[in-house]
C-alpha cells in the first residue's frame, strides 16, 4: 500500500519535473541590457525624404511628402515620430526588466525602458484582455505577449496616430504591430511586422539584432513635450506634396530610382532589381566630405 502510494507520487513528480523542464526551455532570459548592432540600415531618417523599403499607399505618400520637420516645434506633434515601431528603427539598445507577481512568482510583464524620445514598452504576459477598441490610444500602445515556439511573440494595438518613420511617414491609430523576439546565445533578434489598413499596402517588416551587454545600458527620459516657439492656433508647417523641396535629394545623392525612394510596393521584390538593371548608374566614388565608411551622407 505504502509502496504504491510512493510510486504513484513519484510518477506524478517525474511528470511535473519533465513538464517544468520542457516549459522552461521554451522560454529564454529576456531580462537584461541589449546593445544595438548598427550593421543594418533600418533607420532611414538621415534625409527628409527616404521611404526606401516601405510599401505605401498613395495617401500615405502624399501625407509624407507634405511633412515639414518644423512640425516638431508644435507641442501636440512633438512626440509623433517616436511611436512603438521606433524600438527597432531607432539607434538605441533595449533595457529589459520584468515585473513578477510575488504570490505565484510568475512574470506579469516585461518592460523595455524608454530611451530619449521613445516611450518604452510594457509587454503584458499575464493574459489580460485588451482594452476596448474605444479605449485611449497612446504613443506606446498596448502590448500583450506570450511564449511561442521558443520565441517571445507580442502584439501592439491602441497606438496613437503618428509616424512609422520620424521623417513624417504616417501610421494610423488602426495599425497593429506584431513582434517576435528570438534569442540565439548572446544575440537577440527582434522582428517587427507593422500593418496599417490605411497607409501601408504591405506590412513594414524590420528585423534588428542586439547583443547582450555586460554593463547595464543607461536610462534616458522619454519624449517630453516643451514649448518651442509655436503658439496654439499657429498654422501647421507643411509643403504641398508635389512641392517638397527635398523630394529628390536622396534620389540625386545616391542615384536611386524615384519610385524606390518614394516607397512603391514593387521596389521591395527582386523583380524590381531586374527592371532597373539597364538604367541604374552607380554614383561615383566619394572624394570629399564622405562621412564615415566611405559614404557621403553628410549633407552640404
Amino acid at each position: 500500500m505504502l509502496i504504491h502510494l510512493v510510486a504513484r507520487r513519484a510518477a506524478v513528480a517525474f511528470l511535473l519535473a519533465v513538464l517544468a523542464a520542457s516549459k522552461a526551455s521554451a522560454q529564454f532570459e529576456f531580462v537584461g541590457s541589449w546593445a544595438p548592432l548598427a550593421s543594418e540600415d533600418v533607420q532611414n531618417d538621415s534625409v527628409p525624404v527616404d521611404y526606401l523599403g516601405l510599401a505605401l499607399t498613395d495617401e500615405a505618400r502624399s501625407r509624407a511628402l507634405s511633412y515639414d520637420e518644423s512640425q516638431k516645434s508644435m507641442i501636440e506633434r512633438q512626440c509623433a515620430g517616436w511611436g512603438a515601431a521606433y524600438m527597432v528603427l531607432g539607434p538605441f539598445g533595449l533595457r529589459v526588466t520584468s515585473q513578477t507577481d510575488p504570490v505565484v512568482n510568475r512574470v506579469v510583464s516585461f518592460t523595455i525602458g524608454a530611451w530619449e524620445d521613445w516611450n518604452g514598452m510594457i509587454i503584458w504576459m499575464d493574459g489580460r484582455p485588451r482594452p476596448s477598441e474605444h479605449a485611449l490610444h497612446t504613443q506606446a500602445g498596448f502590448t500583450v505577449g506570450r511564449w511561442e515556439g521558443g520565441a517571445l511573440a507580442a502584439r501592439t494595438t491602441h497606438v496613437k496616430a503618428g509616424f512609422i518613420r520620424k521623417t513624417g511617414v504616417p501610421l494610423t491609430d488602426q495599425a497593429t504591430i506584431d513582434w517576435r523576439f528570438f534569442r540565439h546565445g548572446d544575440l537577440l533578434t527582434v522582428l517587427m511586422v507593422a500593418t496599417d489598413p490605411v497607409y501601408l499596402v504591405e506590412p513594414e517588416i524590420v528585423s534588428k539584432s542586439f547583443r547582450l551587454s555586460r554593463t547595464p545600458l543607461d536610462y534616458r527620459a522619454e519624449c517630453v513635450t516643451a514649448y518651442e516657439g509655436r503658439e496654439p492656433g499657429d498654422s501647421v508647417p507643411h509643403y504641398a506634396p508635389d512641392q517638397n523641396p527635398f523630394a529628390d535629394e536622396f534620389v540625386n545623392l545616391y542615384h536611386l530610382p524615384r519610385e524606390a525612394v518614394l516607397g512603391y510596393r514593387e521596389t521591395l521584390y527582386p523583380e524590381y532589381r531586374k527592371k532597373i538593371k539597364d538604367t541604374y548608374v552607380p554614383p561615383p566614388p566619394c572624394t570629399s566630405s564622405c562621412g564615415a565608411a566611405g559614404n557621403f551622407v553628410l549633407r552640404q
Binding site: R9, V18, A26, V42, G53, G149, A151, V193, S209
Partner: protein
C-alpha cells in the same frame, strides 16, 4: 505513516528534477530524438519557395553602391585597400563574378530560395540569383560545438563552403508549442564580397546562421535568417544582418540568373 511517505516522495522528486531537466534540454540541443533523421526531427518546415522582401539595407542590396562605400560593415584597415581597388571588370575576366554570391552574402542578395531535402540528413538551398546551391549537412547526435569544428573539412574551398547544420528545437511552451530554429555554421569558403561593391571577406571567414520562421498577419509565413559573419582578416568584429523572406505558394516566379560582378 503519511509523514514518512511524503518525505520519501520528496526524496524521489529531487533526483528526477535534477536529471530530467538537463537531459531533456540536452536531447533537444542535439537535434531531436536518437535514430531520427534530420528531416524527421525537423521542428520547423523550411521547405518550399521563398522570396526576398527587401525592407532593410535596400541601398546596399537592390543596387550596387558607390565604390568605396562600406557603411554598416566593420571592415578592418586591411580591407580598405581592397575596397578602394574594387574592379568588377577584372573579377569578370578572372572568372570571379560570383564573389558577391558566396555564403557570406548570398542570403542578402535579392532573389528567391528553393529549399528541399536532398536526402534525409542534407537540406539543400538553391538561389535563383546567381544560381547557387548550398548544402546543409546534419550530423545526427552532433552538438552545435562539434558541428562547428567538423565544418572545416579538408575539401577544396568554394563560394558556399562546407555547412554543418543543427536543429535547435524549442519544447513545450504555453501556446503554439513546437517550433525551434536551424543553426548552420559554414567555413572552408573562397574569399568573397559582403557587398556587391567589393567589401571583402577572407577565406578564413566563418558564417553562423540562425533560420527562424514566423507567421504573418495575412496568414503567410516569414523566414528570418540571422547571419553572423566573422572574419579575423577583414572585419574588426562580427557583421550581423537578418534578411527575411516571404513564403510563396509555388515556383512560378523562379527565375535563375547567372552571377554578375557588376549587377
Amino acid at each position: 505513516m503519511k509523514t514518512w511517505s511524503a518525505a520519501a516522495t520528496v526524496l524521489l522528486i529531487i533526483p528526477f528534477w535534477v536529471l530530467a531537466g538537463p537531459t531533456a534540454v540536452r536531447a533537444q540541443q542535439q537535434g531531436g530524438g536518437a535514430g531520427k533523421s534530420a528531416r524527421d526531427a525537423a521542428p520547423i518546415d523550411l521547405t518550399g519557395y521563398w522570396v526576398s522582401y527587401v525592407t532593410e539595407n535596400w541601398r546596399y542590396r537592390m543596387v550596387t553602391p558607390a565604390k568605396g562605400e562600406y557603411r554598416r560593415i566593420p571592415s578592418s584597415r586591411a580591407a580598405l585597400p581592397l575596397i578602394n581597388a574594387w574592379d568588377p571588370a577584372a573579377d569578370e575576366r578572372a572568372g570571379n563574378q560570383c564573389k558577391s554570391y558566396g555564403a557570406g552574402a548570398i542570403m542578402s542578395v535579392p532573389g528567391r530560395l528553393h529549399i528541399t531535402w536532398q536526402d534525409a540528413d542534407t537540406l539543400r538551398i538553391e538561389t535563383d540569383a546567381g544560381t547557387q546551391t548550398r548544402l546543409f549537412h546534419f550530423s545526427p547526435g552532433a552538438s552545435a560545438a562539434t558541428s562547428a569544428t567538423s565544418a572545416t573539412s579538408p575539401g577544396p574551398r568554394s563560394w558556399q563552403g562546407e555547412s554543418t547544420a543543427t536543429w535547435e528545437p524549442a519544447t513545450g511552451g504555453n501556446a503554439g508549442g513546437g517550433g525551434g530554429s536551424l543553426r548552420v555554421v559554414t567555413s572552408n569558403l573562397r574569399a568573397g564580397y559582403l557587398r556587391k561593391n567589393g567589401v571583402p571577406y577572407s577565406e578564413r571567414t566563418t558564417v553562423t546562421e540562425h533560420f527562424d520562421v514566423a507567421p504573418l498577419p495575412d496568414g503567410g509565413r516569414l523566414l528570418l535568417v540571422t547571419t553572423i559573419v566573422e572574419d579575423p582578416v577583414y572585419l574588426t568584429g562580427p557583421y550581423v544582418v537578418s534578411p527575411h523572406f516571404k513564403k510563396e505558394p509555388d515556383g512560378s516566379k523562379w527565375d535563375p540568373t547567372p552571377c554578375s560582378s557588376t549587377w
